[in-house]
């Protein structure tokens, strides 16, 4: 296996990634990004060394269309839109069509809404020139989802996306979700990611949310990629005047992960809440960077990252609050908390504040600690076994973020996922 540091990508991946009847403008963007990617540095995740990860070990083998497994079929009813590998296997857009909402695969979006996609794709949120991985993700994008909610449309029901990495065979999986929130729109998106099959394929999942003036987007995600998947995530919001994005993300992958979650507060009065919960188990390494950049005046960004470590795993939280000169009256707060359930685990919580403006309120709190023995004793004194008490303390610890997940069914999925991860913990038995 070749580590990412020395990986040299063959241009054939770019042609393999192209969509059917792809317009020239996109191919051109890909080629430029690919060209550029050779010279750009890899992104830095402080205190995470991922140079040996096979994140760029792609395959160009032609995919055979495998049948949809029962495990996936059973879940279809719970989602609005489902992509299995590079195939869209369910779309209930009809429920939202009357309001002018567009929801389709990236391949269809390029074909049918080319102008709209061109206006937003890698234009506002993620900068393909930022680093080698952003460039590669544009150059090799071969799956994805496009969601467009027009001005003044407020959706009551959440849009639920299921994005599945099909690792039943060798497959390149570079997925891009593009979400555009029109002026004064308001909606809720849930995206779950998972892996089926046990071939070792890397996964790249990026998402851009462009939130226009006065829009309010709630983005919830639950990431449960497979144990053999090395994953790179990049989710970024671009906020215009008085826009708001609330992120609540559960990072429950079973393989090693690097993730970059960012919000750029450009518009005056824009606001983001970025909340992450993560569990690392086994020998897994997860490095999560969450960054808010305040460009506009009176913007507010709050970061909350909470994580639990078991076994010999590693979990690193970097919280970055950046305030640009001129962003008067801005607020940047962050809290990073890590709970270690195993003496062999390695956890770190690093708050980083980069402030270039005087008239701001900024603060941070960070902690890395063991389970609170007094809490454990109290619960056990009511008859709860140590195992149950510990699970409850951990759930409580993570519950601060869970309680902010607006869709009850998603909250339940997250709780179930946490329970499953904790039950597999040999230390608590």
């Amino acid at each position: 296996m070749n580590g990412i540091k020395h990986a040299v990508l063959d241009p054939k991946f770019v042609s393999a990634a192209k969509f059917d009847q792809e317009p020239d403008w996109l191919s051109e963007m890909r080629n430029q990004a690919f060209e550029k990617s050779q010279d750009l540095p890899l992104p830095v995740f402080a205190k995470v060394n991922y140079s040996s990860w096979p994140l760029l070990e792609f395959s160009t083998k032609k995919q055979a269309d495998l049948e949809i497994p029962k495990s996936v079929k059973d879940q279809l009813a719970d989602y609005t839109f489902v992509n299995l590998g590079n195939r869209n296997i369910k779309n209930e857009l009809a429920n939202f069509l009357s309001q002018g909402v567009i929801l389709c695969s990236m391949a269809d979006a390029i074909k049918n809404y080319g102008d709209l996609v061109q206006k937003y794709l890698y234009q506002f949120a993620i900068d393909p020139n930022e680093d080698r991985l952003t460039a590669i993700n544009l150059a090799l994008m071969n799956n994805g989802t496009f969601l467009y909610v027009p001005d003044n449309v407020q959706l009551k029901d959440p849009i639920k996306l299921l994005t599945i990495q099909d690792s039943r065979q060798e497959e390149m999986f570079i997925d891009h979700t593009l979400i555009v929130a029109g002026k004064n729109s308001r909606f809720n998106v849930f995206q779950r990611t998972e892996t089926i099959g046990d071939i070792a394929n890397p996964a790249h999942l990026t998402a851009e949310i462009i939130a226009d003036q006065d829009s309010h987007v709630q983005y919830n995600s639950l990431d449960c990629l497979g144990p053999k998947t090395y994953a790179y995530f990049n989710r970024k919001g671009h906020l215009k005047e008085d826009a708001r994005i609330d992120w609540a993300m559960g990072i429950f992958n079973n393989g090693s992960t690097i993730a970059d979650f960012d919000s750029d507060l450009y518009g005056v009065g824009s606001h983001t809440e970025m909340q992450t919960v993560a569990i690392s188990t086994g020998r897994q390494t997860q490095g999560l960077d969450t960054q808010v950049t305040n460009y506009g005046r009176h913007t507010e960004g709050n970061i909350l990252q909470i994580g639990v470590l078991l076994d010999s795993s590693t979990l690193i939280f970097n919280g970055i609050g950046k305030i640009i000169h001129g962003a008067h009256g801005s607020k940047a707060q962050q809290e990073n908390r890590i709970l270690m359930l195993s003496p062999k685990a390695h956890g770190d919580a690093n708050p980083i504040l980069l402030i270039d403006e005087n008239d701001v309120i900024a603060g941070h709190a960070a902690s890395v600690g063991q389970i609170n023995k007094k809490q454990l004793y109290y619960l056990m004194s009511r008859g709860l076994s140590k195992e149950v008490a510990q699970r409850l303390v951990v759930r409580g610890f993570l519950g601060v973020v869970l309680s902010n997940v607006p869709i009850p069914a998603v909250r339940e999925q997250m709780v179930a996922m946490i329970e499953r991860k904790l039950q597999n913990d040999p230390e608590s038995k």
Binding site: N372, K374, Q375, Y377, Y378, L379, M380, S381, R382, G383, L384, S385, K386, V388, A389, L392, V393, R395, G396, F397, L398, G399, V400, L402, S403
Partner: protein, 240 residues
């Protein structure tokens, strides 16, 4: 009838500052049965809380000599949770706060694990019982939706201890300074809860500095503790 018997109990704790082991209990003898109400009185630092924490099984307290038995079974080899499931309950002096777990979820879990072979209490029955007990303790329904003890006032925490006791229905409850920090109204409410529990199947051991509590919960026996030993035992008049 169940019996809780403490015999010649010697207990040491490790001092937090110099890490040296220090003997707190120096031979405590106490026997109580369900259906009885006992009170232990005495000044600060005589080992009253040490006795209650040791009976419950707090790992910070080490038995160096003597024994604690519940119906003839030696408790010293049992973990805290096993003792609780065997029928012991400690209303703590300083209940801990746990964010992220609702009071309701916690109490329901505790009720179900202490029911052992009877299986979980059906939710409807549980909620009816909870409502009834909340009523007795003048507590609002909202208290059960809040996180466990989080942001509760001192008085709310004490009431919540009594609520848990009423829901779990132990054989023996030890109330460690349940009266401290309570005004007279709150004290009456707490006492009402305890008195409501009194039955031939329930024994209570109150630990207090003050006689005041005993005006509302009448003890059958009062023990006076001094320097790690029970030095005197008598009826309620001893408290006066």
């Amino acid at each position: 009838m169940a019996t809780l018997k403490v015999s010649n109990l010697h207990v040491s704790v490790n001092d937090e500052e110099d890490k040296k082991s220090k003997e707190i209990l120096k031979g405590v003898n106490l026997e109580m049965h369900t259906g009885e109400t006992h009170a232990i009185m005495g000044p600060n630092g005589t080992g009253k809380s040490t006795l209650s924490e040791t009976i419950m099984g707090n790992p910070n307290y080490h038995i160096t000599k003597g024994s604690i038995e519940l119906d003839g079974q030696d408790l010293s080899t049992m973990t805290v949770d096993q003792r609780a499931r065997a029928g012991l309950f400690l209303a703590m002096q300083y209940p801990v706060e746990i964010k992220g777990i609702t009071n309701l979820e916690f109490i329901r879990t505790a009720v179900n694990v202490t029911r052992n072979e009877q299986g979980p209490l059906p939710i409807k029955k549980f909620l009816d019982k909870l409502k009834e007990n909340l009523g007795i303790l003048n507590m609002s329904d909202k208290m059960t939706e809040r996180y466990l003890n989080e942001g509760f006032s001192g008085g709310e925490k004490k009431r919540n201890e009594i609520l848990q006791m009423m829901m779990i229905k132990p054989k023996f409850a030890i109330l460690d300074e349940i009266d401290s920090g309570l005004d007279i109204d709150a004290l009456q409410v707490v006492a009402k809860g305890v008195n409501h529990m009194l039955s031939p199947n329930f024994g209570v051991l109150m630990i207090t500095h003050y006689q005041r509590l005993l005006n509302y919960i009448h003890p059958d026996q009062v023990h006076v503790m001094m320097d790690g030993r029970i030095v005197k035992t008598g009826d309620a008049s001893l408290a006066e």
